[in-house]
Subunit: 311 residues, 2 copies
């Protein structure tokens, strides 16, 4: 499949070129990397917002309503929805797209679903590269929404300028969120479906746990929303602006972007090493080694050692 | 911290030696690897059961009740609860341990919580090695419970002989589970809190989606439980036995263990490579490179290329 993509078309915001560029990135083709090379100098202008939280918290709805809010202020919006591929249908689950219907016909909004399973170069790498494409194409705001709260999803949300963690009263107490690692990455908490029972207590619990934190970092705000009805969404956008302003007032944004790029480059390095690693000969060594481990004549450590020595 | 551990003590099921061995494994110390080397030939006897599902589904409770069930049949049980470290307290969240109270005073049960965040060698590697310790120490059954449904948690649960996916009616519809990648790894579904409203429909939805699957793999059973009241737990244990018998009837178990070991060795290889990779010089190259990227004179790809060339 040869996709001809003109860098200038992507930079000009051509939607077909943008879509094709992300497909190249997703498939980790060499042409994709060449394209990203040429796009990269044009990135850095967009503001990246990560949206994460447990499944069913209403992240897609909030993302959709935030996009509407930004469009109202004349900003262009790119949305990357990290949406696992189902092994049953072979395609992406369409639920989120349906809920994105408020904005999907708007030419100032570009929505892309990405598969989280089977992503070749690591999910956080691919998502960051897709964000680069949207950034270079001139999107003002990039919303990166993840499904679930696994390590790679957290990595994506964390690799944003501002990270929102969306919870609902039903997603259990603040301890559950803490267990999932959400407390440490949130710049802003959103208590969605806040019209439901238990919302007050859930917000109070988050605030209490945040108060136990050591150190002097400012406490993230906790904003109540009912995203489906559009309630509280303006408050979230304002909280994002305040966070952005506070990052830009000091060296916070520069530091965040430096760390993010260090992680990006380190991921690229491991990715390249991994690609060179598993030649067909080494794969065969691996399979033979495992057969010997199962016969009890070797251990995983011996076999790994032999493989490392073979470089 | 020098921990003196006698291999024979671990093999004899000495609880202090087992606990120390897992601490060595968690800290990824060289002595830990030497110990694992000597323990490895004594592994392979235990049956490993992965328990995963969204936060709040009652995985700890089910794990606890399954342990009671196995103890009633005279089997020894090791439990590895992958429990994220909180950055706020610096320690593991104790919620699960409390819920483990039915079995924690039983000398035939060994429970260990492991931190998922900041795990040095990758979570799936550390969890598999802890399972090796319990396997070598003579535990008949090893239950590996994970919090959340991220990639690394799924990897742990999948690296079991039988994988349980625990859902509740409230965890949303089957589409949510599918989105989190749970459908593809389940050997058995458990619909916990099945006395609540919506359980019937939720089970029906899972069965319907499973029916859409292509291929000829047998359809995983869906078992209703109310684990807190101990209801349905025997049914889960029986389903595990049926799955085990079907794996052992063909080459299923051998194939699963071969694949699992290939992944183990590949993880070890990448781990070693990574450890050799980030010398202080290369870290400095990385930081300088990122500064240049931020000044617009280089791209992440140039910098990664330079780093790979430096090996």
């Amino acid at each position: 499949m040869a996709l001809r993509i003109n860098t200038a078309d992507v930079l000009g915001g051509d939607r077909v070129a943008m879509a094709r560029a992300i497909t190249l990135v997703e498939n980790q083709l060499p042409e994709g990397e060449a394209l990203l090379q040429s796009l990269f100098p044009h990135t850095g202008r967009a503001y990246r917002i990560g949206v994460t939280g447990p499944p069913g918290a209403g992240k897609s709805t909030l993302t959709n309503k935030l996009a509407v809010e930004y469009r109202r202020n004349g900003r262009t919006v790119g949305i990357i929805a990290v949406d696992p591929t189902s092994p049953f249908t072979g395609g992406a689950v369409l639920g989120d797209r349906v809920r994105m219907s408020d904005v999907e016909l708007d030419s100032g909004v570009f929505i892309r679903s990405m598969a989280s399973r089977g992503s070749l170069g690591g999910l956080s790498k691919t998502a960051a590269e897709a964000a680069d494409v949207l950034d270079a194409a001139g999107m003002d705001i990039i919303l990166m929404e993840t499904v679930g709260v696994g390590q790679s999803e957290l990595d994506i949300a964390r690799a944003a300028d501002t990270t929102l963690v969306v919870l609902v009263p039903e997603s259990g107490d603040a301890v559950q969120a803490m267990k999932a690692g959400l407390m440490e990455i949130a710049d802003i908490f959103v208590m969605n479906k806040a019209d439901r029972a238990g919302a007050e207590q859930a917000m109070q619990a988050i605030t209490t746990i945040l108060g136990l934190r050591q150190g002097t970092t400012p406490q993230p705000p906790v904003i109540a929303t009912a995203a489906l009805e559009g309630k509280g969404v303006t408050g979230v956008a304002e909280a994002i602006e305040r966070h952005r302003a506070s990052l830009q007032a000091g060296d916070g944004l520069a530091r965040r972007r430096h760390e993010r790029l260090e992680q990006r480059v380190a991921d690229l390095v491991i990715d390249r090493v991994r690609r060179h690693l598993w030649t067909s000969e080494r794969r065969q060594l691996l399979s033979q080694g495992v057969a010997e481990i199962l016969r009890g004549t070797r251990t995983p450590y011996d076999v790994a050692h032999e493989l490392v020595r073979s470089f």
